[in-house]
Symmetry: C2
Subunit: 196 residues, 2 copies
DNA sequence: GTCTATATTTGGATAGAC
DNA sequence: GTCTATCCAAATATAGAC
């Protein structure tokens, strides 16, 4: 029996709660006191788990990037068909942005400038393996003439297009995630692949 | 003769300097003291020109949106050909993001969450006329089968794709703005319009 | 591992002299 | 329109008791 539900790992709980607060309010506008209150402890106690406030942001991002990479990796192995593989990657990134991981993912996408330079480089290095998966698949898509724009530039434009969806797209609205993913792929591959 | 160069309009100078600081450091990490020092006055004097710090951010955004709308409007009248008109809009937005207006534009794109709700609505309302120009042209492009994705969704994906370029694109690099604009249009219109 | 208490800094904003 | 001086609030972080 567990006397302290959810508290088996307070550090994990702090990271999840911080992700939500940082996403809702922004890192700078979130105080350590708010975070502490949200998990039911006092502000001083937070510093038993983290060295500094920035350390919390770093933890949010590193754990998020690990999840992102794992899921994208899995998606890239879902099919041998390049077109389907591309769709799987798009759908996965949109799921990351709008599913249970949304807070951490949004923070990772849009708040890395709140990190100091050293930590920024650390996060960037971690993101590299995530981006590599993308570039591999986009390279295949380009080689098989599924897409006709440069894979590198395409990925960067796509990063913006997908990331920006957090500001307007609502999964519970008219357009579901599959339909949105299909629209995004249609944008990349052109009308030829719209009718199957 | 002017004894006080650049100071004819101190308020304007403060807005321009604030745009740069807010873009470089972020709104929350920029102090009124820093801004004051950058224009050569003391922090108390700033509040002769603005009611509050948030008021400065609001001024940055409203003046920026006016410029954005003016320039996009001009671009939309540059040609009667839909394809060229679309390219002109893309090129103009990229110029706004990377030219002399870049600081204010980046702040307007990515830091509106630092505004209170009331001011957010104000800014959103101002942006509407800018977005209307886009939706008109994308609607024309869709009607003439130049693009095949929904104009509304397309614009939102495009907003993200273009806005995100501030994080990776450098106008002084290998790819010039015309080439980037061409890539973006190629993404929207598909391979059919890539070879002219 | 958490709390109490607090050190220390910083930032937005104001009042009144010049 | 700017400066001087300062108020006040809020925030990160620490030390030591429990």
């Amino acid at each position: 029996m567990n006397r302290t539900p959810r508290l088996e790992n307070r550090r994990e709980h702090l990271i999840q709660t911080a992700a939500q607060l940082f996403n809702d309010l922004g890192y700078e506008r979130t105080s350590v006191r708010q975070l502490a209150e949200a998990v039911g402890i006092l502000s001083g106690s937070v510093f038993h788990h983290f060295d500094s406030k920035e350390d919390i942001l770093l933890a949010v991002m590193t754990t998020t990037i690990e999840t992102m990479t794992t899921r994208l990796q899995a998606a890239s192995k879902a099919s041998n068909d390049v077109s389907e593989r591309l769709l799987a990657l798009i759908r996965t990134e949109l799921e990351l942005l709008h599913g249970d991981t949304r807070h951490g993912v949004a923070v990772t996408f849009f708040q890395w400038h709140s990190l100091g330079h050293t930590n920024q480089r650390h996060v960037l290095a971690m993101r590299a393996s995530y981006e590599k998966i993308w570039l591999d698949v986009l390279g295949q898509a380009h080689a098989s003439q599924l897409i006709h724009t440069d894979p590198f530039i395409t990925r960067r434009l796509l990063t913006g297009a997908n990331g920006w969806t957090i500001y307007w797209y609502r999964p519970d609205g008219r357009l579901d995630l599959d339909a949105l993913a299909a629209e995004v792929r249609a944008l990349l591959t052109g009308p030829a692949n719209q009718n199957r």
